[in-house]
Symmetry: C2
Subunit: 329 residues, 2 copies
């Protein structure tokens, strides 16, 4: 069933049907009513593909994320989807797992389908900007990065100041009297790097210069946090505060500390990052850095929408995280 069928049944031309379908003017009330009656009883659905063929945008947004099973990405992707949906766009989603090849495959696919815009969620996508295989696809449609940045003509960023976020955690711990701090780095992204940098700088600011030696590397998981603590305690180094790069890792840190007979926060205070549900499930509830994924997502959507609709001016923005104090520090 297509527009010709409707036109025939209504005794008009396809132009007229098209006009009533798209609420264009120049149709008599009578004609419009006749067409609408036919429309109502037929179960005709216009073909968006044909509409796209005729040069109209398909109103779809491509979202690339590492893994929506990570709550932080889930919250970001959720907000992006909801906001674009509200604006009449559909979103297509890909979990690249950080795999360059997956990202490229997907970018090619969405370019072939003429996506109207692209959102890259996470600093891990920064590398695509200079990737000869990927970059061409990032020039066909406007691109916005959530907490990332690439240098391409039509790409913009909504950044989060993770250095500041980590510094907030350090300052809070020092204010409660902690002096022997450590930082848990649980992933190798620019964002994680920024957190470490914030940690080191904040220590320097407090006159402690060996921050670089106080960074613990581990995996992003409960087990990762546990292992980092076990290794630290085994080293015999003094510790009374731990800044973690993720709530989930922090929960492992807390668990291992308690298992070792240490009290949190009395003996060792712990901070998480992301202010996720994990922070509230954890016992004691985690003091955590809120890096505002919903706000970031919202700004990404607004930015991308104005890029697509060419209602300028546009500019990249940076938002500041905040510390949410609970029981672990």
């Amino acid at each position: 069933m297509n527009i010709y069928d409707i036109a025939r049944e209504a005794g008009v031309s396809i132009s007229t049907v098209s006009r009533v379908l798209n609420n264009k003017g120049n149709v008599t009330a009578a004609t419009r009513a006749r067409v609408e009656r036919v429309l109502a009883r037929s179960n005709y659905t216009p073909s968006a593909i044909a509409r796209g063929m005729a040069g109209k945008p398909l109103r779809t947004i491509a979202v690339l994320t590492v893994d929506i099973r990570v709550p932080h990405y889930a919250r970001t992707a959720y907000t992006i989807e909801r906001e674009f949906s509200r604006r009449g766009y559909e979103v297509s989603l890909c979990n690249t797992g950080g795999e360059r090849a997956e990202a490229i495959r997907y970018l090619r696919a969405v370019t072939e389908k003429h996506a109207d815009g692209i959102v890259l969620v996470g600093s891990i996508f920064n590398q695509l900007g200079s990737d000869p295989q990927a970059a061409p696809f990032l020039r066909e449609a406007p691109v916005v990065l959530a907490n990332g940045r690439i240098d391409l003509p039509n790409s913009y960023s909504v950044l989060v100041d993770d250095r500041h976020g980590a510094a907030l955690a350090v300052e809070h711990l020092m204010a409660r009297g902690c002096r022997d701090l450590f930082c848990v780095r649980d992933v190798a992204t620019e964002s994680a790097e920024a957190k470490c940098e914030g940690f080191v700088r904040a220590l320097e600011h407090a006159g402690i210069s060996d921050g670089q030696d106080r960074i613990l590397d581990t995996g992003q998981s409960i087990a990762g946090g546990e292992e980092a603590v076990k290794a630290l305690l085994a080293s015999g180094r003094r510790v009374d505060g731990i800044v973690c790069g993720e709530d989930i890792t922090a929960s492992g840190v807390v668990r291992a500390l308690r298992a070792a007979g240490l009290r949190v926060p009395q003996d060792v205070a712990v901070t998480g990052y992301n202010d996720s549900e994990y922070a509230r499930v954890c016992d004691p509830a985690l003091t955590s850095v809120d890096n505002k994924p919903e706000l970031v997502a919202m700004l990404c959507v607004q930015l991308l929408e104005s890029l697509i609709e060419k209602t300028g001016p546009f500019s990249s923005v940076t938002i500041q995280p905040e510390l949410v104090v609970r029981d672990s520090a």
Copy 2:
């Protein structure tokens, strides 16, 4: 840049270009090479829209879910996306929030774009099958429900036996000696209903007939779990075991029990549901029912793919949850 440009530059016809593009036979190695060279230096991207216009499938799958911020849905959606991606499909995602209107809007949109298949994740979508506004869109493409069922000619299900899941929890609690059990219902879906039914039946099986009076209603959240426990304790009823419909709610239950000075599991044992990361973050780690979202998703993908490619036979399937025993019960 389109297929005509390539054809002209290579000095061949568009058919030939189309043939090399799609690896069809009947092209001399020499001709193929010539076209491929032109292809390589041009940054031509074929238009999937035009291809769709010519009758080829666009290879997109629409996934409807309640809210991917809920880990169980995130895991399901993640697996669906990954598996379809591997098979050369793209997935478009909508978080309906359980809103009928959102589901309908989205179904209309994806029908206009000729989605090749639809996945409905969650029993909340069961009602769409008999919804006159929604059902027509569920007839245009094959539909698979994850843990749901609708009665439409081209719709199939991958079901989870949640009655059995809840019964497993009850049996485990009774085996540890619990006698005064309660069940926390934290949402109003058929799936939640099935869990309650499983709870009641398992009690009956053990000679306890007042199961229906042992169901506590609350919200699906930490606070929901806490409130349920507070109300229960205030009522003065004896309790030594609580079966929860969700890990997140169970974590609130545990927290409130401990706050009331009760030990988990010694005084009151608690079971969660979904075997999510929350179960592992919670202290004590939750004994939880694993309802296998990855397996469900995988089966949905296989089912839908065979429906799309018409490689039968198809049939709905039911999978059985398993209990994962940890420290809370």
